[in-house]
Amino acid sequence: MMKYKKPSRNFVTYAGVILIFLICELALSGMIDGFKMSRSLKGQLVPICVYIVMAVSLNLTVGISGELSLGHAGFMSVGAFTGVLVSQYLLFAFPDVNLETIRLIAALAAGGLFAGIAGVLIGIPVLRLRGDYLAIVTLAFGEIIRNLINCIYFSVEGIALNFGFLDPNLPGKMIINGPMGATGIKKLATFEVGFVLVMITLVVVLNLINSRSGRAIMAIRDNRIAAESVGLNVTKYRMLAFVVSAALAGMAGALYGLNFSQIQAVKFKFDTSILVLVFVVLGGIGNIRGSVIAATVLTVLPEMLRQFGDYRMLIYAIVLILVMLAGNNPFIKNTLDSFKAKVFKKSAKEGDQA
């Protein structure tokens, strides 16, 4: 009997994302009749990609590494402002060179790099703590980053970049203007770039999870003392997960920043961190595919609820509470489990016969 090899879970994830991307592309180009994307939905495409990257990267910290982080938006804002700074600087300093792709790649790389550095700096103190204390310190760092960005001023004059801290009087053209944020950004983000970033994130995170390091990270999550006693370097692996997660969030932030003509630090407050955490928890903690689906559905959902007008966030909140209650209701859980068991038993049998 030939052995039937099920396609790996990761393959299904990649295939699903690519398929949805292609469908969206077709819908955008108007090749599917009767399936037109509304304007507001079109505007949501890049944010969806951004939030998928945010949710997947946060899932690396919360689900795989087991550390509740409430400051993920902080890394996003570092990435966003670095990305915008790099892109705008290149635009003003070298106006003759008209290469949007290079500017975009430079912005994403710089966003990821600086958020990664912020991840290292924040990780050193944060990872000494555990549980709710770790959560509150990440929250604190998120707020500190937001406050600091409100005090930062950058301007460009010729090819010189001027920096001011709490000092708005800079010569040249302002790029980042303290509490007013960055204005007049030349939009570079496209859905295609977003898709590429999502794929990069998935490849990085899924390969990390299935590697030796990933197994070490999960071992530390499940039992830190046991993992330590078999010789795993706990600090190193926790740091690895934290920094990768921060760098990916930074890239997402850079893409987000370049999707708008202006951004302020207020956009990355505590609520944004919480929103991404909601995606992760509803998608399933530690379940990467779940994060992708939850981020997509929950970014689109408020748009879908637009017909309810003022009631839409109310409905959103009620749905969130009900989903959490239903997911933890013993009766519903048992019914779902037995249903799942039945379905999977069936498919397993079919698999044997094939």
């Binding site: 204390y133 509150i136 406050n147 955490l277 928890v281 959103y316 969130l320 509470i321 933890n328």
Partner: protein, 294 residues
């Protein structure tokens, strides 16, 4: 110097509000082991209730405060029964997300009822102000009453948890739920009671906060909520004197930081001090150190 004294008093007054909110956080965390993110929004509901009582129903200030306390206490019990009780055995993250859902729900209900425009809150405890040093130092009655309320609440709660049967039951449940149940303590009633007290305190905090800082919006409660939570962690979560010290220190750092360092960096300073404290004493200033068992 006199300027400094005035900042100091303002700091202690703001810190007292934080301390009262932090108490609610701390008690709920101690007993239910959950971060109740909806606590800040209960403050906001309390402030709106007292606002309505004065503005629309023209009740006397005392009645407005009592109404706010009653509504918030009922709200606290209701939230606990509807949203948190079914999740007693769930993971802490599920409970956290539910609390966030409740927080959004309260904010949006407030948004629908009272609208997004900020309301200017008329102080409920304004009895003029005291002028010292030839008119150089003004101390408002709000400052006095906030600090006095804080002291009274702290003493009352310390006595309550130390002397009364219910208070002892609370401490027992927060230490070991299973053992407390075996001793005949009604765990569910005790937890409901904790939520009731925490929410009642939140109503008082809401009235005091808006009397000193008279801008009322659906999101009024969220930042003080987060800061009070920080204060609770700062002082050692689960401890009543810890909440007092944490709250007052936080208020002082915020006001003095804003006055002497930079207005923009006031909040950043608060959180930076929190991080430093947690790194030196990972369970907060007065927190108990729990040894890890293998």
């Amino acid at each position: 110097m006199i300027q400094f004294l005035s900042y100091l008093l303002n700091g202690i007054s703001l810190g007292s509000v934080y301390a009262i909110i932090a108490l609610g956080y701390s008690m709920v965390y101690g007993i239910a082991k959950m971060l109740n993110f909806a606590h800040g929004d209960v403050i906001m509901i309390g402030a709106y209730m007292s606002f309505c009582a004065i503005q629309y129903w023209s009740l006397p200030p005392i009645a407005a405060i009592v109404l706010a306390i009653v509504v918030c206490t009922a709200l606290g019990i209701l939230i606990e029964r509807m949203a948190y009780k079914p999740l007693r055995t769930a993971t802490s993250l599920s409970v956290l997300i539910t609390a966030i859902g409740v927080s959004w729900l309260l904010q949006n209900i407030a948004l629908l009822i009272w609208g997004a425009n900020p309301k200017s809150y008329q102080s409920l405890v304004n009895f003029g102000s005291l002028t010292l040093f030839d008119g150089q130092l003004h101390i408002t009655s709000e400052t006095f009453i906030t600090i006095a309320a804080n002291i009274i609440i702290m003493i009352a709660l310390t006595l309550f948890t130390g002397k009364t049967k219910m208070g002892k039951a609370m401490r027992a449940v927060s230490e070991d739920k299973g053992a407390a149940e075996l001793m005949g303590i009604n765990v569910n009633a005790t937890i409901s009671m904790t939520f009731a007290i925490g929410s009642g305190l939140a109503a008082i905090a809401g009235v005091l906060l808006c009397s000193s800082y008279p801008v009322l919006m659906p999101t009024t409660g969220s930042m003080p909520g987060i800061k009070a939570f920080t204060a609770a962690v700062f002082g050692g979560i689960g401890s009543i004197p810890g909440a007092l010290i944490g709250g007052i220190l936080l208020g002082l750092i915020e006001i003095l930081g804003k006055a002497y360092v930079s207005t923009e960096l006031g909040d950043a300073l608060v959180f930076a001090v929190l991080i430093i404290v947690l790194l030196v004493k990972p369970t907060g200033l007065l927190g108990k150190k729990v040894h890890e068992k293998v």
